[in-house]
């Protein structure tokens, strides 16, 4: 029981991170119908910027954790957001309106480019980060095993929750959100009615990148190591999460992220850690067979 609870906490933490990345995929897919393959790399860049900024702050002497965390979050969000914008501007915007596979190939190329760019700029070695937020609360004490939730896990979950609420508000009640939903439904019609579609799409990429940056900061703190290759698998899992929840649906991405995190944590705990990725994808296939549009996706009716 204690073990189960502990895995639940670990799984939810992991799931929160996946959910943050998955939102970037699902929003981009919703609005322009393409898989933004470079999104995992954007997350990786967010994590790298976090590590670099933490190190600089450490050298400068800002060691008060809340302040350092705030600065790192802001820096990472701004610059990663800018990366998201640039990627869209260079690799996707010129391809708008061409056939379906073109932006995908361009995205794969961008992903390879960014991965190697970071590898060249920062070296291929794993970058360690000193643990900054230690300690936690003991929730339950069993005979052999006690359940703890670390402060960091609490921060990750709280931050994800806050971002999700803020984000849902942004999409449902602000002019930007309205423009975004309008573009999602019919880009041509929206632009005829005065919505700047290009700008809205750019902002979607920026928002996705900002959320990925938060995920990157959290992961660099949580695992304490970052390397240039983390983007691929995290991106793949987050995309799986988005598909599992129903791509294009925001609550779906959140649900999918949490589910993937839980599946991974429980599979590693009870079965085998080597095959956790196999479990994730197998469950994805099973879900898609029975619900082809994902858990919360709207069934699409194709018309002639």
């Amino acid at each position: 029981m204690e073990y189960f609870l502990q895995q639940l906490i670990n799984g939810l933490t992991l799931g929160a991170v996946y959910a943050l990345i998955a939102i970037g995929y699902t929003m981009v897919y919703g609005i322009i119908g393409m898989i933004n393959f470079a999104h995992g790399e954007i997350y990786m860049i967010g994590a790298f910027i976090a590590v670099i900024t933490f190190s600089i702050l450490g050298i400068v002497g800002i060691t008060w954790v809340p302040l350092a965390l705030l600065i790192v979050l802001i820096v990472s969000m701004i610059i990663t957001g800018l990366y998201g914008w640039t990627v869209e501007r260079i690799a996707y915007r010129p391809l708008r309106g061409s056939f379906r596979l073109a932006p995908l190939i361009s995205a794969i190329g961008m992903s390879i480019f960014l991965q190697n760019y970071v590898q060249i700029a920062q070296g291929a070695k794993i970058k360690p980060l000193q643990p900054m937020i230690r300690g936690g609360i003991e929730l339950m004490k069993g005979e052999t095993f006690s359940v703890t939730i670390s402060y960091l896990q609490m921060i990750i979950m709280a931050m994800t929750l806050a971002l999700m609420i803020g984000f849902s508000y942004l999409i449902s009640a602000t002019p930007l959100g309205r423009a975004q939903r309008a573009c999602e439904q019919d880009r041509m019609m929206a632009s005829l009615l005065g919505v700047n579609a290009d700008r809205t799409i750019s902002l979607t990429f920026v928002l996705g990148a900002v959320l990925a940056a938060v995920a990157g900061v959290m992961v660099s703190l949580y695992y304490g190591v970052v390397d240039f290759y983390i983007g691929f698998l995290a991106g793949l899992k987050a995309f799986t999460a988005a598909v599992l929840g129903g791509i294009g649906s925001l609550p779906g991405a959140m649900l999918g992220g949490l589910l993937i995190g839980l599946i991974e944590a429980f599979w590693s705990a009870y079965f085998s850690i080597e095959y956790k990725d196999v479990a994730v994808f197998t469950i994805l296939v099973v879900v898609l067979i029975f619900r082809p549009t994902g858990l919360l996706g709207r069934p699409e009716v194709e018309k002639v």
């Binding site: 610059i79 794969i108 961008m110 080597e274 990725d277 296939v285």
Partner: protein, 436 residues
């Protein structure tokens, strides 16, 4: 655009570049044992900003120049001629399959005997041909049937491991294993395809991508069979229809050079492997060209264009897609067997996602459905990293950038033409009253 606007635009771009470069290029993390140390490299940011400034300015000027040129051309020519002038490459694409393919095949056949052909060149040719074959195999799935497969490398891996295991443990020869490997890969294709081919395109993409990862994870972790990360080494080399390539063949067998009364040279094997993959690739090509004319091939292309119409006409979409998927997988399996036989060593590292991405890039860059375009794209994408070997650090960077740039420049692929294989009124016949 006026000069001032161009300048402003370029300065903006340089500013963005500087900001992007600031954390990742401007600061370098250094291992000091404890917390990471930081070295600054601000001069690099300046270089990056200047390069982007000049590049952006140049690009703007070039684009404006091209637009002016086109406009002036459009003024001079009547509309029909203007269309003809629009692109040399798409014109080339239209003619490509007629004369380019025989030319390429002819070159491929005589290549090993040309004066510049040494060991390295033939080896490179073999690698290019492996990718050509993979590209042609994937083209059946992506180009003809329009199914987005991001895990093609899984079938390649199945073929390679089938060959390795059968020949190591059961002493099967290359020619006995080849059909088995193809069959097994096709079976995998059916097993994977059956549940997922009912899904829409992008779901299929993620499931195939996941499948590629599953295969790789299994290869990495199923130690007793696959050897784990260390892979399988010492795979027997293929022989020339039973005559081995050896300086001193074992008692009772004739080796290749004795058979033909030649001086022994290790080059023989390399040339043989080259022709082997050439033959396999050509079989793939001929198969594709022929099957396009069969009902099932026509159904693939029709399905790609309009699934609803096909369903209405009584084509079973799932089964039709499944055949494309299985046949594509089969050729992947063939290529995998050849790969294992040639390398003599395989490990999961050779079957990572990047391989799938490269093969897909070959198909799309070549212009989907164009056989000759795939050859050119395969040659380009395999030779580019080789040419850039001196800058080995930057070659994958250049590779990614090239993929993006080619797509932005020609989203339809290098030699794109997507003409129907069949016309209601073939060229030269009058519409409405052709048959007597």
């Amino acid at each position: 655009m006026t000069a001032a606007e161009r300048l402003k635009d370029a300065i903006m771009a340089a500013g963005v570049a500087a900001l992007l470069a600031l954390p990742l290029i401007g600061f370098e993390t250094v291992d000091t044992g404890g917390p990471l140390g930081i070295k600054t490299r601000f001069d690099y940011i300046a270089y990056a900003a200047i390069a982007v400034f000049l590049g952006r300015l140049g690009m703007r000027i070039a684009l404006d120049w091209r637009r002016n040129y086109r406009e002036s051309l459009a003024d001079k020519l009547d509309p029909v001629d203007a269309v003809k002038h629009k692109s040399v490459l798409s014109d080339l694409g239209r003619k490509a399959d007629k004369w380019l393919m025989p030319a390429l095949i002819g070159f491929a056949i005589i290549m090993p005997f040309l004066p510049f052909a040494n060991r390295t060149v033939i080896d490179l040719g073999t690698v290019v041909l492996i990718y050509v074959m993979l590209g042609w195999g994937l083209n059946i799935v992506v180009g003809l049937a329009g199914l987005l497969d991001l895990g093609y490398v899984a079938f390649y891996a199945v073929g390679a491991y089938t060959f390795a295991l059968l020949s190591m443990h059961f002493g099967f020869g290359f020619w006995e294993t080849l059909p088995l490997a193809g069959l097994l890969a096709a079976t995998f294709g059916v097993v994977l395809g059956f549940p997922v081919l009912r899904l829409r395109g992008d779901y299929l993409a993620i499931v195939t991508l996941g499948f590629g990862e599953i295969i790789r994870v299994i290869l990495l972790n199923w130690q007793p069979v696959t050897g784990g990360p260390a892979g399988i080494s010492g795979i027997p080399r293929p022989s020339f229809f039973g005559f081995p390539f050896a300086a001193d063949p074992p008692e009772g067998t004739t080796s290749f050079h004795q058979l033909f009364g030649l001086e022994f040279a290790s080059l023989h094997r390399i040339i043989f492997l080259y022709y082997l993959i050439l033959a396999l690739a050509l079989i793939t090509n001929i198969f594709t060209m022929r099957i396009r004319k069969l009902p099932v091939g026509r159904a693939w292309e029709a399905l790609r264009e309009d699934e609803i119409a096909c369903t209405a006409l009584g084509i079973n979409p799932t089964n039709t897609k499944l055949t494309a998927f299985a046949i594509g997988a089969m050729f992947g399996g063939f290529a995998g067997s050849f790969f294992a036989a040639r390398q003599g060593f395989i490990s999961p590292e050779s079957f990572s996602f990047i391989e799938s991405a490269v093969i897909l890039a070959i198909v799309v860059l070549g212009g989907m459905g164009s056989q000759a375009g795939i050859v050119l794209a395969a040659a380009f994408l395999t030779l580019l990293p080789e040419v850039a070997r001196e800058f080995s650090l930057f070659r994958m960077l250049a590779f990614g950038a090239a993929m993006v740039l080619i797509m932005v420049w020609r989203p339809q692929g290098l030699l794109a033409h997507r003409e129907p294989t069949m016309r209601l009124h073939p060229a030269g016949t009058k519409p409405g009253g052709g048959t007597p």
